[in-house]
């Protein structure tokens, strides 16, 4: 049995298959049809709902995709859906602003957009949201009718409206945590269990339980954010019979910063690591703007991204370049593994039966080190990389002392470009050095052509990124990327110029 608060009322659920998604549950079990299914794959945001967790005595909400969240992940949390957002006849400011600014046309994406805006409204606490915050909040909501302008206008102006938010829903009555955790049978108190016939789903609360469970059920699937695993259910028609939800294990969400390392808990979400990344690896943090959407970043975890072992990324290539290590733990084992040894083959990892990723330990950058992370995709928001390239360059007196790279989308696994690295070490920190080294890329990678890009483009653009890496290292203050362009007025002085550039180099590069 699990217990959660739905639109202000605590409810219990037991007799459901583990792979029941929140969206499916709301629409078919609770007849809450305000939340829409647009894609079933977490890409359109029509199913966005608010998920609340209690922090320092107060419920704090974030928007998530209901279609790729499993019901078990709701245990102990509060959920708000579009159906309950208006307080009687008074609309929530996000709703009223969307009406007044003509933000809806067909209306099908609108409930999801309202929920994203409501989360933004709640989180800015009366302040005017910045343009970046608005785009960030809406990054996971597709609208096919409006072209977004009126929606952005609604977001800019919703603070003008009186907040009549339904307090009972936003801050539901205290439920003693003991009450949540002690309900159910003795067996269930050990682990939360959502059971139907042979199918089982557990919500584990600590690592001891997790170790026991994985030892007993090595075939159980672990889920933290579910932003990828849920696709097996909604897109690939698979059933997941054994599911272990680890998102509630506090010890897997810790972030520890020491003099030389930062250690991220495996189940820390992107949203939870964002601040630390901004402080210690701003370049990595900037990548998050292009990684999934706000909804995905609210649920998705660093450990999940690594364990999922996508050949693309987005974080593994960066972690490879940074020289991260993974803490892998099971009931009887404990080990640290350099991340570049973790990925064995397409979707194959070094994770042993019963093992889980406890933490990711990342060396801190030294004064003479710079991290550069580039992502290439068709669209800026919420798209999967065609190529992801990361570089950690160590330089002294204009000479490249060391380089570590990580590439995604270039091979069956995310990996470093060893020939490129060798070609750079000892060379002057210059555009020419990088352009020459880029010629080694075909020796490191034989990429595939697929729906996102051709092999030729992947090599070509990776070369372009290496050149850009050099230019950025030489002119760090200049606008050098499309995603850094936020103003229609842009002067030539704002953008990269080639310090050492010449047309001869251009020829060499494009040859």
């Amino acid at each position: 049995m699990i217990k959660f608060c739905l639109n202000g009322r605590w409810i219990e659920e037991a007799d459901l298959t583990p792979d029941t998604t929140v969206l499916r549950y709301l629409r078919t079990r609770k007849s809450l049809t305000g939340t829409k299914e647009g894609c079933g794959s977490g890409d359109c945001g029509a199913c966005s709902v608010l998920l609340g967790e209690k922090q320092a005595g107060k419920w704090v909400y974030k928007a998530i995709n209901g279609c790729i969240t499993f019901l078990a992940q709701l245990h102990g949390k509060s959920v708000i859906t579009i159906d309950a957002l208006a307080d009687g006849r008074s609309l929530h400011p996000a709703q009223q602003a969307m009406v007044d600014y003509h933000g809806s046309q067909c209306g099908f994406c609108t409930p999801g957009i309202i929920m994203s805006l409501a989360a933004l409204h709640q989180n800015v606490e009366g302040e005017q949201p910045s343009e970046h915050q608005i785009l960030d909040a809406l990054s996971g909501n597709l609208c096919r009718c409006t072209g977004y302008r009126p929606i952005i206008d609604a977001a800019r102006n919703m603070n003008e409206y009186p907040d009549v938010a339904n307090v009972g829903i936003w801050q539901p009555e205290e439920q003693l945590s003991g009450e949540i955790h002690n309900a159910g049978t003795e067996a269930e108190r050990r682990t939360r269990n959502l059971r139907k016939k042979k199918e089982q789903s557990w919500v584990v609360e600590n690592e001891a339980q997790l170790k026991d469970l994985l030892a007993e059920h090595p075939d159980a699937r672990m889920v933290a954010g579910a932003t990828d695993l849920a696709l097996e259910v909604t897109q690939f028609n698979k059933s997941i019979n054994k599911l272990v939800s680890i998102g509630a294990i506090e010890s897997l969400k810790t972030i520890e910063v020491t003099d030389d390392k930062v250690t991220f808990g495996g189940a820390a979400t992107y949203a939870e690591i964002e601040e630390t990344l901004t402080t210690h690896y701003p370049e990595f943090s900037a990548l998050l703007d292009r990684l999934g959407s706000r909804q995905v970043r609210n649920n998705g975890t660093l450990g999940g991204n690594v364990g999922n072992a996508s050949p693309i990324g987005d974080t593994p290539p960066v972690l490879i370049a940074l020289g991260a290590e993974l803490e892998l733990v099971s009931k009887h084992t404990h080990r640290w593994l350099p991340i570049d040894q973790f990925f064995l083959d397409y979707k194959q990892t070094a994770l042993q039966s019963g093992e889980y990723i406890r933490a990711i330990r990342v060396p801190r950058l030294q004064a003479n080190q710079t991290l550069k992370v580039f992502k290439i995709s068709k669209r800026i928001e919420d798209d999967i990389s065609a190529v992801l390239a990361a570089f950690v360059v160590t330089s002294e007196d204009g000479i490249i002392k060391d380089v570590r790279t990580g590439f995604g989308g270039m091979a069956g696994i995310p990996k470093a470009a060893c020939n490129v690295e060798r070609a750079l070490v000892g060379k002057p920190l210059s555009e020419v050095s990088f352009m020459n080294a880029a010629n080694e890329l075909p020796n490191d990678f034989t990429p595939l052509s697929d729906v996102r890009a051709t092999a030729e483009y992947r090599i070509q653009v990776a070369k372009g990124l290496m050149r850009k890496c050099a230019l950025e290292l030489l002119e760090p203050e200049k606008i050098s990327r499309i995603e850094q362009v936020h103003s229609a007025a842009l002067n030539p002085n704002d953008v990269l110029t080639a310090v050492s550039g010449s047309d001869k180099q251009g020829e060499a590069y494009h040859a």
Partner: protein
């Protein structure tokens, strides 16, 4: 006697206040509050019956194959399955092609695209149906597929015969022209990606018919096809469409198969059946915008003015005709866009491929046709060393030049299209002039040149492209509409018409028209779902015609009711007919002494009811003036043209091919706007959708004919950050439609879609700057970052070749 209705006197309308919500006002979408609260009901949201069944269809694994053996026993015995049907279970017609045959409701023998429906499963839950459908065992004899336009053109493999427009002698004009330029382009299709996927829900009736709830732009066609597949008369089937979560043309013909399959299963099981496609099925099994391969051969004079052109447009129609005949026709009609082609031959091919049948999509072939005109303009400009805007302006319809004479020596009027329609009320020359001023085109052009000269990697581009889009269905009989208006005894009004609401605000606009006719508040008018038993034999809500047709039909119904009401009023109040009028929610009667008596509308309606005056009427409208002769390829297919123009500025990263739209200025002509906010919403939304078509939205098929971009993870429509950073949209003011449309408004659904071409043209402009605007980069669409980087590299190669040539020339001069 009790009063007919007790109205709350506090809410009685005040005569001092004009009625609210008449046309011309920016009223809110009629469903806005329901949208934002989640209370707006879409088909999938309707309460389900306890015995409701859910459908999943099994489709072909091959692009072209014969079914050798089909074993569905595992499907039938899967948990929850209540019925499995193949074509043998269809009681009536098995072909549901909308215009021409070619679309089997379920394939019997030969499969013609991957995903083509072969059998359908109805189960107690969607998940059960989905799992069951995967258990089918089908053996195929695999045949060679035709997957490309190129191959179809070579084999003359067409779904419909080739058609041609001819005016003058293009071959001679090309031969004699001062400059002759040729070019080609491949313009890929587009997935509609309506947020609400295809869905139909049906309930069997006691008369052996069906009640159908569908997300369709064409209820009448759904009604007819459901009746046909069931083998019952049309009056046994009622279709109801309250609203769609987006349509864009994708629900014109493509909704019907779902309703038909659900109806066959409901008929078989006697239970209500819902068929809602998963997004992946929707993307693989339903039609999209046509790919087009276009070529041009153009001759221009020393000023870049077109003397003659030969244009070919070849649409990738997929496996069946569907609407392709009319779509390729429209591409041909728009291959001139806004420009006078002079001596012209325009040829349109309808290529057959073993891919899902391409279908209607906002613009209906028009955008693909316009692309070749705009390609040509840019290419002429680079060839002549002129700014593309200069060349565009010189070639506009309605521009007269002293040096261009007709055969009999007169100055050429330059206002007749290659299909013989005279371009009347031509607003584009002045509209473009206004836009180039308000957008600072020429100042920014110079600034961009300076920027590009100083910025080696980031390049800016700028382009102004116009739109001239023909309004009317090119199939004449579709240009008709009906409506039904009731007034109840409390003065409230009920409105039905044949148009469907897909978000475009049609229900609102037509309600505003009715409110205007009766001079009552907009909230007096209740719009209901579109139902085939209220208004019969309707045309699809398509071709931007929704308001033009249904607004006029509703107005006609109002006029008929008003006619009766005014006759009654003159008798009742003993005045002449010109002494009664409706104003501010009242009937106003002026007596012989010139004194006005104000009677609240509801009271007047009650008087009329007691006087036994009909308070309900149908209305009808057909578009005048239009005709087209397919034999000669001449006529007036369009009642009028809608115009607009956009200036887009982009920035391109030449190291990666990535780009961003910095600023877009739009000036668009909607005649006298019925609702400015709704119109601006259509313009902005259409522009962004058009931009998406030409930039990030890439349909990728593998060499077996399988669609790889079959979900939003791989098919990228514009997201919130893709709209222009600086986006300025204006309606052209004080320009009522030159034709007598409803309140002199103009259609707005499709025309602004093509304003997105300005982004593509600006991207080419940015890339062209690399070679000092002397080379016209090849840039097929969508112009993804990969495509743009390829254009960059091609331009750099051209620049090097140019340098080499210049150097050689210099050498030889020096020698």
């Amino acid at each position: 006697m009790r009063k007919l209705i007790d109205t709350n006197t506090n809410e009685l309308p005040m005569r001092e206040r004009p009625s609210k919500g008449k046309t011309g006002q920016s009223m809110k979408h009629e469903s806005a509050e329901k949208h934002v609260t989640g209370k707006a009901v879409y088909v999938d949201d309707m309460p389900e019956y306890p015995n409701q069944l859910h459908v999943v269809v099994g489709g072909s694994k091959y692009a072209h194959a014969k079914i050798k053996l089909m074993n569905l026993s595992a499907v039938r015995s899967a948990p929850g399955v209540e019925a499995v049907i193949t074509v043998k279970d269809v009681p009536g017609h098995t072909d549901i092609g909308p215009v021409f045959p070619g679309d089997p409701v379920l394939v019997s023998d030969e499969c013609e695209f991957i995903g083509q429906p072969i059998f359908a499963v109805a189960a107690q839950s969607f998940e059960q149906a989905k799992k069951a459908a995967a258990l089918a065992e089908i053996e195929y004899d695999v045949l060679e597929p035709v997957l490309t336009v190129e191959k179809a053109l070579k084999d003359k493999f067409f779904v419909r015969p080739t058609h041609q427009h001819k005016r003058g002698d293009s071959a001679k004009a090309l031969e004699n022209a001062a400059h002759r330029i040729q070019g080609e382009q491949y313009v890929k299709g587009q997935e509609h990606f309506y947020l609400e996927g295809q869905v139909s829900s049906v309930v069997p009736t006691e008369d052996g018919g069906m009640e159908v709830f569908t997300s369709s732009q064409h209820p009448t066609e759904v009604q007819k096809l459901v009746a046909e597949v069931l083998g019952v008369s049309i009056n046994k089937v009622q279709v109801d469409v309250r609203r769609m979560g987006g349509g864009f043309g994708g629900k014109e013909t493509q909704a019907a198969p779902l309703a038909c399959i659900a109806a066959i299963l409901a008929n078989k099981t006697g239970k209500p059946v819902k068929y809602r496609m998963s997004r992946q099925d929707d993307m693989e099994m339903t039609g999209k915008r046509h790919d087009f391969y276009n070529t041009y051969d153009v001759g221009v004079d020393e000023q870049g003015i077109i003397q003659g052109a030969e244009i070919m447009v070849a649409g990738k129609c997929g496996n069946s005709p569907d609407l392709s005949d009319a779509i390729v026709d429209r591409a041909m009609f728009h291959s001139d866009n806004a420009y006078y082609l002079n001596n012209a031959t325009v040829t349109g091919h309808r290529c057959k491929t073993h891919t899902v049948s391409a279908t209607a999509y906002r613009g209906f072939g028009g955008p693909q046709g316009m692309m070749v005109a705009e390609l040509m303009m840019d290419d002429i400009a680079r060839h002549m060393g002129e700014d593309p805007l200069t060349i565009r302006k010189r070639n506009l319809y309605g521009i007269k030049y002293d040096h261009i004479k007709t055969d009999d020596g007169q100055i050429d009027e330059r206002n007749q299209t290659h299909y013989g329609q005279t371009v009347e009320h031509n607003l584009l020359p002045e509209l473009i002039e206004e836009l180039e001023n308000t957008s600072d085109y020429w100042k920014r052009r110079e600034e961009i040149k300076v920027f590009n000269a100083q910025s080696p990697f980031m390049k800016k581009g700028l382009a102004l492209t116009p739109v001239k889009f023909g309004i009317s269905f090119t199939v004449q009989f579709l240009n008709q509409a009906g409506a039904l208006v009731h007034i109840y005894t409390d003065g409230s009004i009920h409105l039905s018409h044949g148009g469907t609401e897909m978000g475009q605000g049609l229900f609102l606009k037509v309600a505003q028209i009715v409110a205007e006719e009766f001079q009552v508040d907009l909230d007096t008018v209740q719009v209901s779902s579109t139902r085939t038993d209220k208004v019969p034999n309707t045309s699809p809500t398509a071709a931007s015609s929704g308001t033009d047709l249904n607004g006029m039909a509703a107005r006609d119904a109002c006029l008929r009711i008003k006619d009766g009401l005014f006759k009654f009023a003159t008798e009742h109040y003993q005045v002449e007919e010109d002494k009664v009028r409706l104003e501010s929610n009242h009937l106003v009667v002026t007596n012989a002494a010139g004194e006005e008596q104000w009677v609240p509308f509801a009271d007047f309606v009650q008087q009329a009811y007691m006087g036994r005056v009909p308070l309900s009427s149908t209305g009808f409208y057909k578009t005048p003036k239009i005709h087209y002769d397919r034999e000669t390829g001449k006529g007036r297919p369009f009642y009028y043209y809608a115009n607009g123009a956009a200036v887009s500025e982009v920035i391109v990263d030449t190291l990666t091919g990535e780009y961003k739209v910095l600023r877009t200025d739009i000036l668009h002509d909607v005649g006298r706007s019925l609702n400015p906010s709704i119109d601006i919403g259509q313009i902005e939304g259409a522009f962004v959708q058009g931009m998406g078509w030409l930039t990030t939205e890439e349909l990728v098929w593998n060499n077996q004919g399988k669609l790889l971009s079959n979900g939003p993870a791989t098919y990228k429509i514009p997201a919130v950050g893709d709209a222009p950073i600086d986006f300025r949209v204006k309606l052209l003011e004080d320009r009522p439609n030159g034709e007598a449309t409803v309140y002199r408004s103009k259609a707005v659904g499709e025309p602004p879609f093509m304003l997105g071409i300005s982004v593509w043209s600006a991207l080419r402009d940015a890339v062209s700057s690399i070679a000092d605007y002397r080379f016209s980069p090849p840039m097929n669409t969508p112009a993804t970052p990969e495509c743009v980087l390829n254009a960059v590299m091609a331009t750099e190669r051209a620049k090097e070749a140019q340098w080499a040539q210049d150097a050689a020339t210099a050498d030889s001069v020096n020698a």
